[in-house]
């Protein structure tokens, strides 16, 4: 078992554990931190799956951006409500039933499935970042543009929602 393999399973374990504990944790703040842990380990797994660029994006945008924003939100709401950030559970039984059975189904059938059969081209490649960039400008230029519009819309939306809060206060 090589080091890489160990690392792989280690990060898998970490991610899984973080995900699991997210279910049980009661504090929103800890939850956010656990999610960061989870995302970081996933980023590591990405690297092991030859997706360095995705991994970097994951760390930068997700862990660094999104979750910071979320934690910010947590702080903000805590401040407004003035309540402890402890979260109650509800629908526990139904939730466990649903997600548990889904997990069972998925894992059973994933193990049944032979994905190797569908392999297109066994070219173990090391995707260069430039090929991603090239792709973004050629094959994926439209999604790229659309993503831009999407971001713009999200921005406008968030701004509208936020701005009305202010106007309400006045």
């Amino acid at each position: 078992m090589s080091f890489v393999t160990v690392m792989f399973y280690f990060f898998e374990a970490v991610a899984a554990l973080a995900g699991l504990s997210l279910v049980f944790v009661r504090n929103v703040f800890y939850g956010a931190l656990l999610l960061i842990v989870c995302l970081l380990s996933i980023a590591a797994i990405y690297i092991l799956a030859f997706a360095e660029f995705v991994a970097v994006t994951q760390i930068l945008i997700y862990a660094g951006g999104v979750l910071v924003v979320i934690i910010f939100g947590v702080m903000l709401t805590a401040k407004i409500s003035g309540r402890p950030l402890v979260v109650k559970h509800s629908n526990l039984f139904g939730g466990i039933l649903a997600s548990g059975s889904l997990l069972l189904l998925l894992s059973y059938f994933i193990l049944e499935q032979n994905f190797q059969a569908q392999q297109n081209d066994i070219v173990p490649n090391n995707p260069a970042i430039n090929s991603i960039g090239f792709g973004l400008m050629t094959d994926f230029v439209l999604p790229f543009e659309v993503a831009g519009i999407l971001l713009l819309i999200a921005l406008i939306g968030a701004a509208v929602i936020a701005s009305t809060i202010k106007s309400k206060k006045i």
Partner: protein
């Protein structure tokens, strides 16, 4: 490499030219926002967005005329064909109607330019979604619709609005996450994102494992959520109740068009030219039956017209699905016909719901006797509701007749019992739907009230409504006008499958 790149860029450029309507809409978003920053008058963003939609629509007509063969754009990201052109045109019309409705509602509206920008964005998303042949594009354009919708829901800016937004957002995000998981599985099965490509078929064909079914179901769930089909409907009533009236009308139409469009394409793809080992007809049949039942029965006890229309739209989603379920070119054409009529009649209903809401009638019980004070609006509303029920002489009847015909034809070809059940269920549900559709006219005409409100017969709504009523009647008496167009739609996907395989 150099040549490759050049040809790719040329292709992109050509694609962009074909994509005129979308370009116009994208520019429109920016324009509306910028203008909104500069000018504070209400009328300007309204007129501007009206113009944008009209241009887009004109462009679509031009495209329609120019189009000979389906074109693949951006290396299989999108497909320009008559099917998508038709739905896009319909979405544009819905956009125009929404803007017109909003015009009558704008004094209560703030942040108008953002409001219109979001509407345009949602229409843009619809455009892209119905053209998408690529899993990534499906996801992105769906999100484009969703995110603008989340924000639009809360445009009343009150407690209810915020709540509606939140609910829509949470449900929508989960649904798209589930869909995404399904999409990722499909990528895994085939290695391609283009679900119309030959590779997709050849790779998928041998791997029809249960996982394939799960993935398909998850993906379809995402689309079903967009058209508010049961069991992915529960967001609809709350959202409809919370949102402002033009937006409700918009929601009841545009995301449905988008969802049903992409669902049609996708389900044809994973039906594997009729060779799928899983019976997608059955799946959709169950969904349709559920939608019809849940929608109609839940609508029975509603007291708020908006919620009532929400449940009605759930049931109507079931009817739209019936057209798809036939898995026949005619079925899809009839579905488009139904969708067109649905746009007209739903807008007709909402125009008057808004009109009455503005005059202070909010719950159905308050509609008592408005038939006397608001004669014409009540009559137009009645016609719209009759059409929704599906009684002659309205186009709603023709549309129902058509989709049930295609269902019967499908039954004749396949002999599947689920189709007969669906037929019977669907038609019997019409009887149930009568109960609640007629509740509003029932209160309006039969209950009495003492009121001496002065009404303006020449109100904008009446003019607007009159045109739509004429359309409803016109399409009943000569559906050929519309079907003539729809008949030109050669739905490439289905045609390619020999019917014998299905039968």
């Amino acid at each position: 490499m150099e040549n490759d790149l050049r040809s790719t860029l040329d292709h992109i450029f050509e694609s962009l030219l074909v994509l005129g309507p979308e370009v116009i809409l994208s520019i429109g978003i920016l324009l509306v926002i910028i203008v909104g920053l500069v000018k504070k008058e209400h009328a300007i963003p309204t007129l501007l967005s009206l113009l944008i939609f009209s241009f887009s629509f004109l462009f679509i007509i031009a495209d329609w005329k120019a189009l000979a063969e389906p074109i693949s754009l951006f290396q299989g990201m999108l497909r320009q064909d008559t099917f998508s052109l038709y739905l896009r045109g319909l979405a544009d019309i819905a956009g125009i109607l929404t803007v017109l409705m909003s015009w009558r509602n704008q004094e209560s509206q703030r942040n108008l330019s953002e409001y219109y920008a979001l509407i345009i964005a949602a229409v843009l998303g619809t455009h892209l979604l119905v053209m998408s042949t690529n899993l990534l594009m499906v996801f992105l354009s769906l999100e484009l619709i969703s995110i603008s919708s989340y924000v639009l829901t809360g445009f009343v800016f009150d407690k209810k609005g915020a709540e509606g937004s939140l609910k829509y957002f949470l449900f929508g995000s989960v649904a798209s996450a589930v869909m995404l998981y399904g999409l990722s599985m499909f990528y895994g099965f085939t290695g391609t994102l283009d679900f119309t490509s030959e590779v997709f078929f050849t790779k998928l064909y041998p791997s029809q494992t249960p996982l394939f079914f799960i993935a398909g179901l998850m993906t379809v769930s995402g689309f079903l959520y967009k058209i508010a089909a049961a069991p992915l409907h529960p967001w609809a009533p709350d959202v409809y109740e919370a949102a402002p009236m033009p937006i409700v009308a918009f929601f009841s139409v545009v995301p449905k068009l988008a969802g049903i469009g992409v669902l049609t394409r996708f389900i044809m793809a994973i039906n594997l030219r009729g060779a799928a080992s899983y019976d997608w007809q059955f799946v959709l049949g169950i969904v349709a039956i559920l939608s019809l039942t849940v929608g109609n029965f839940s609508a029975l006890m509603q007291k708020n017209p908006k919620r009532l229309m929400a449940y009605s739209s759930i049931a109507q989603a079931g009817f739209l699905l019936i057209g798809v379920i036939a898995f026949l070119p005619q079925g899809i054409q009839f579905m488009l016909f139904y969708a067109t009529i649905y746009v007209v009649m739903n807008f007709l209903v909402f125009i008057y719901l808004q009109y009455f809401e503005k005059n202070g009638f909010v719950s159905i019980a308050e509609y008592s006797g408005i038939g006397k004070t608001f004669l014409w609006p009540s009559i137009f509303l009645l016609i719209a509701l009759i059409s929704l029920t599906g009684l002659p002489p309205t186009a709603g009847f023709t549309a129902k007749l058509f989709i049930f015909s295609s269902l019967w034809e499908a039954y004749q070809l396949t002999g599947k019992n689920i189709l007969v059940w669906l037929l019977i269920f669907g038609l019997l549900n019409t009887v149930v739907s009568l109960f609640y559709y007629l509740r509003i006219p029932y209160y309006a005409f039969i209950k009495n009230r003492e009121s001496e409100l002065k009404t303006n017969i020449l109100a904008f709504e009446n003019l607007f409504g009159f045109v739509l009523v004429l359309l409803i009647l016109l399409f009943f008496f000569s559906p050929g006008l519309l079907m003539g167009w729809i008949n030109k739609i050669t739905f490439v996907f289905v045609i390619r499958y020999p019917l014998s395989v299905i039968g």
